[in-house]
C-alpha cells in the first residue's frame, strides 16, 4: 500500500515538479514497488490522454467581434482578414453573447416585475391606511413643513397633538383630500376585514414608520407615477388582481430566496443602473414583452432588437448584473417551483403583456422612482419584505375593494397632489390628517 507522500511524489514527478533528489527517490520507488509503477503508468496514461486532445483555434471572427464590441477598429492581422463583414460580426457577437443571457434577463425582469407589483400595491395600502390609522406609528419629535417648501396651502406647522387645529387644517381642507373623505370606495376598503387586519400587523407599521418610505412618498417621481394613467390602468386590471391572488405569487413573495435577493447590493445596483433604465423604456423591449410570440420563440424581431440594443449590452457587462446572475438567492428563486409556476401563470403572463403595465414600466417617473435611494432601501427593508408575504396584505391586494381604490380618481389626485407630499414629509401633519380622516369616516 502506497503512503500518501509516495503518491504525491509520483504525482509531482508526472508534473515535472520534483527536485533532482526527489526524482531520484521516485525512480527508486518505482523500481522497487510494483504498485508505484502501476500508479505512474496510469497517471501517465491520464495525462497523455489530455495531450492528445490538442488545442483548437478560436473562431476567426472572435477577435473582430471583441474589438467591435469595444467600439474600435480591429488592428490588421492576417487571421482577421478572412473576409468576414464587420456588421455581421457585430450582430453575431450580440446575438451569441446575449442568447444565453436572454433567459436570465427575462427571468430577472420577471422577478423585478413581481417585486414592483408588490411595491406599488403597498403604496396604495399605505396611503389609504394613512387615512384612518395614523401616520406613521411611533413617537418622536414632530417634523415641520415650511421654510424651503413652498407648497400651496401648507405653511409652518405647529405641534398638533392635544391642540386646536392649526395651519395644518388649511392643507386638510384641500379639495382633493376632502373628496377622498367622502369617497365610498375608500371607505369600503377601509371597513374591510383584511384592511383592518393589516393595520394591526407589525411589519406594516414598521414600514410606515420607516424613513425610506416617507422619503419615497415625498419624491416628485412618486407623485408623477401615482398620477399617471398607466399606473391607474395597470393597478386596476384583472390580470393584476389575479396575480395578487395566485398561490405562486404568494410563495415567491414569502420565500427566503426572494428576501435575500431584495437585500442584495447587486440587485439594488441593477435597478439604479442607466442601462436598465434604457432597456425598460425602449420601444423594442415593450414590443417584445407585449408579443405573444415572445413566449414561444425568441426569434421575434422586436425581441432581437431589444437584445442587441446598446443598453442591453451595457447591462450584460454591468458588474452588478453579473453578480446578480451569480447570486445564489437569485438562482434559487428562479429555479423554485413557485417562481416557475408564477411565470407560467396565465394572469402573470397576461399582466406582462398588458399595455398599461408596459407603459408604466417605461414611464420616466416610474424608472426614476426605482432608482431612488429610498426606494432601494425599502426593498431590502426587513419589515417590507415580511409585509409582502403577509397573508392579509396579499388578500387585500386581490380584493375588489382594493382594485376600485386603485382606479379611484380622487385617490389618484390625492396621491399626486402637493398637499399629500407635504403630509408625507411631516409626522405631525400626518397625524392631523388621520384625525380628520377618522372624523370623516364616522
Amino acid at each position: 500500500m502506497l503512503h500518501r507522500d509516495q503518491i504525491e511524489l509520483i504525482h509531482r514527478e508526472i508534473d515535472g515538479a520534483n527536485t533532482p533528489d526527489e526524482s531520484a527517490a521516485f525512480r527508486l520507488l518505482v523500481e522497487k514497488d510494483p504498485e508505484a509503477r502501476a500508479l505512474e503508468a496510469d497517471l501517465r496514461q491520464v495525462t497523455a490522454l489530455f495531450h492528445r486532445g490538442g488545442e483548437r483555434e478560436p473562431p476567426p471572427h472572435l477577435k473582430r467581434a471583441i474589438l467591435d464590441a469595444l467600439g474600435q477598429p480591429a488592428r490588421a492581422s492576417p487571421r482577421d482578414e478572412s473576409g468576414l463583414m464587420a456588421p455581421h460580426a457585430i450582430v453575431r457577437w450580440s446575438v451569441s453573447l446575449l442568447r444565453r443571457a436572454t433567459a436570465r434577463m427575462e427571468e430577472a425582469m420577471m422577478t423585478k416585475k413581481a417585486m414592483l407589483i408588490g411595491s406599488a400595491a403597498l403604496a396604495i395600502v399605505v396611503v389609504v391606511a394613512a387615512l384612518v390609522t395614523g401616520y406613521p406609528p411611533g413617537g418622536g419629535e414632530a417634523g415641520t413643513i415650511g421654510g424651503g417648501d413652498s407648497i400651496v396651502g401648507v405653511r409652518q406647522a405647529a405641534r398638533y397633538r392635544g391642540r386646536a387645529m392649526t395651519q395644518a387644517d388649511v392643507t386638510l381642507e384641500n379639495p382633493e383630500i376632502q373628496a377622498l373623505f367622502q369617497n365610498h370606495q375608500i371607505l369600503n376598503l377601509v371597513k374591510s376585514d383584511v384592511f383592518r387586519e393589516l393595520m394591526q400587523n407589525d411589519a406594516y407599521r414598521q414600514v410606515m414608520a420607516s424613513e425610506a418610505y416617507r422619503q419615497i412618498l415625498s419624491t416628485e417621481a412618486y407623485r408623477q407615477v401615482m398620477s399617471s394613467e398607466a399606473y391607474r390602468q395597470a393597478m386596476s386590471s384583472d390580470a393584476w388582481r389575479q396575480v395578487m391572488s395566485s398561490d405562486a405569487y404568494r410563495e415567491v413573495m414569502s420565500s427566503e430566496a426572494y428576501r435575500e435577493l431584495m437585500s442584495s447590493e447587486a440587485y439594488r445596483q441593477i435597478l439604479s443602473s442607466e442601462a436598465y433604465r434604457r432597456i425598460m423604456s425602449s420601444e423594442a423591449y415593450r414590443q417584445a414583452m407585449s408579443s405573444e410570440v415572445f413566449r414561444q420563440a425568441q426569434s421575434q424581431d422586436a425581441f432581437r432588437q431589444a437584445q442587441s440594443s446598446e443598453a442591453m449590452r451595457a447591462l450584460q457587462s454591468n458588474e452588478a448584473f453579473r453578480r446578480l446572475n451569480s447570486n445564489e438567492a437569485f438562482r434559487q428563486l428562479l429555479s423554485s417551483d413557485a417562481f416557475l409556476r408564477l411565470q407560467s401563470n396565465e394572469a402573470f403572463r397576461s399582466l406582462q403583456s398588458n399595455e398599461a403595465f408596459l407603459r408604466l414600466q417605461s414611464n420616466e417617473a416610474f424608472l426614476r422612482l426605482q432608482s431612488n435611494e429610498a426606494f432601494l432601501r425599502l426593498q431590502s427593508n426587513e419589515a417590507f419584505l415580511r409585509l409582502q408575504s403577509n397573508e392579509a396584505f396579499l388578500r387585500l391586494q386581490s380584493s375588489e375593494a382594493f382594485r376600485q381604490v386603485a382606479s379611484n380618481e380622487a385617490f389618484r389626485r390625492l396621491q399626486s397632489s402637493e398637499a399629500f407630499r407635504a403630509i408625507s414629509r411631516s409626522q405631525q401633519l400626518s397625524e392631523a390628517f388621520m384625525n380628520e380622516a377618522m372624523r370623516a369616516q364616522q
Binding site: 503518491i7 504525491e8 504525482h11 509531482r12 508526472i14 508534473d15 515538479a17 496510469d42 497517471l43 496514461q45 491520464v46 495525462t47 490522454l49 489530455f50 495531450h51 492528445r52 486532445g53 490538442g54 488545442e55 483548437r56 483555434e57 478560436p58 473562431p59 472572435l62 477577435k63 467581434a65 471583441i66 474589438l67 464590441a69 469595444l70 474600435q72 477598429p73 480591429a74 488592428r75 492581422s77 457577437w93 451569441s96 453573447l97 442568447r99 444565453r100 436570465r104 450584460q316 457587462s317 458588474e319 453579473r322 446572475n325 451569480s326 438562482r331 428562479l334 429555479s335
Partner: protein, 183 residues
C-alpha cells in the same frame, strides 16, 4: 522562440499601459496574445464551443472595461485567466439548473468512436466533465495550459498546497473513471 514568463509579463504590461494611454490598437494586441488560450480554457471547462466563445468574448469585454482598475503590480496573465475560470464556473452553475444527476457523463470506452482522433477528443472531453468544475479548472490549467503549481495557485487564488492536493485527487478520480470506462 518561446517567450519567457518575465518577457510575457513585460509585454502584457506594455500593452495594458498603451491601452490605458488611449492607444486603442493595444486591445488587439492583448486579444491576439490571449484569445486562443482563453478560448481553449473555456472550451475544456464547458465542452461547448459556442459557450466557450461567449465566455471568451465576455471576459475580454469585462477585462477592457475594468482595465483602469487593474493593479499593475499583479500579473495580467493571472487576472484574465482567473476571470475566464470564474466566468466558466458561472456558466456551469447556470447550466446545472437544468442538468440532473443522471446526466453525469460516462467516459467512453476505447474503440467506441468512429476514428482515433475523435475518440481521443471524446474521451478527454468526457473525462473532464466527470470532474467537479473547480477540479476541472485545475486539470485544465495544468494539462492543457501547462501552468506550474504556483501559477495555478495565483490564478485560482488558493494555496499551493491546496492546488497539489486537489489536482492529485482529481487525477486519481480520472484514473479510476478511465479504468471503469475500459472495463
Amino acid at each position: 522562440m518561446e517567450e519567457t514568463p518575465a518577457a510575457a509579463d513585460e509585454q502584457d504590461r506594455a500593452l495594458v499601459r498603451e491601452y490605458l494611454e488611449g492607444q486603442r490598437d493595444a486591445a488587439g494586441g492583448l486579444v491576439d496574445r490571449y484569445q486562443k488560450r482563453l478560448f481553449n480554457l473555456a472550451l475544456r471547462m464547458l465542452d461547448n464551443a459556442q459557450d466557450a466563445e461567449d465566455v471568451t468574448q465576455t471576459v475580454f469585454l469585462n477585462a477592457f472595461l475594468k482595465l483602469r482598475t487593474f493593479d499593475p503590480k499583479y500579473r495580467f496573465f493571472s487576472w484574465i485567466y482567473r476571470m475566464t475560470v470564474n466566468e466558466s464556473l458561472n456558466v456551469l452553475k447556470r447550466r446545472k439548473r437544468t442538468v440532473t444527476l443522471e446526466d453525469e457523463p460516462a467516459i467512453p470506452a476505447p474503440g467506441t468512436a468512429p476514428d482515433r482522433e475523435t475518440e481521443a477528443q471524446d474521451r478527454v472531453a468526457q473525462a473532464l466533465m466527470y470532474l467537479k468544475p473547480d477540479d476541472r479548472a485545475l486539470v485544465v490549467l495544468r494539462h492543457f495550459l501547462f501552468f506550474s503549481y504556483e501559477e495555478m495557485a495565483d490564478v485560482l487564488e488558493i494555496h499551493v498546497r491546496t492546488v497539489k492536493s486537489r489536482l492529485f485527487t482529481a487525477r486519481e478520480r480520472l484514473r479510476m473513471a478511465l479504468r471503469e470506462g475500459e472495463a
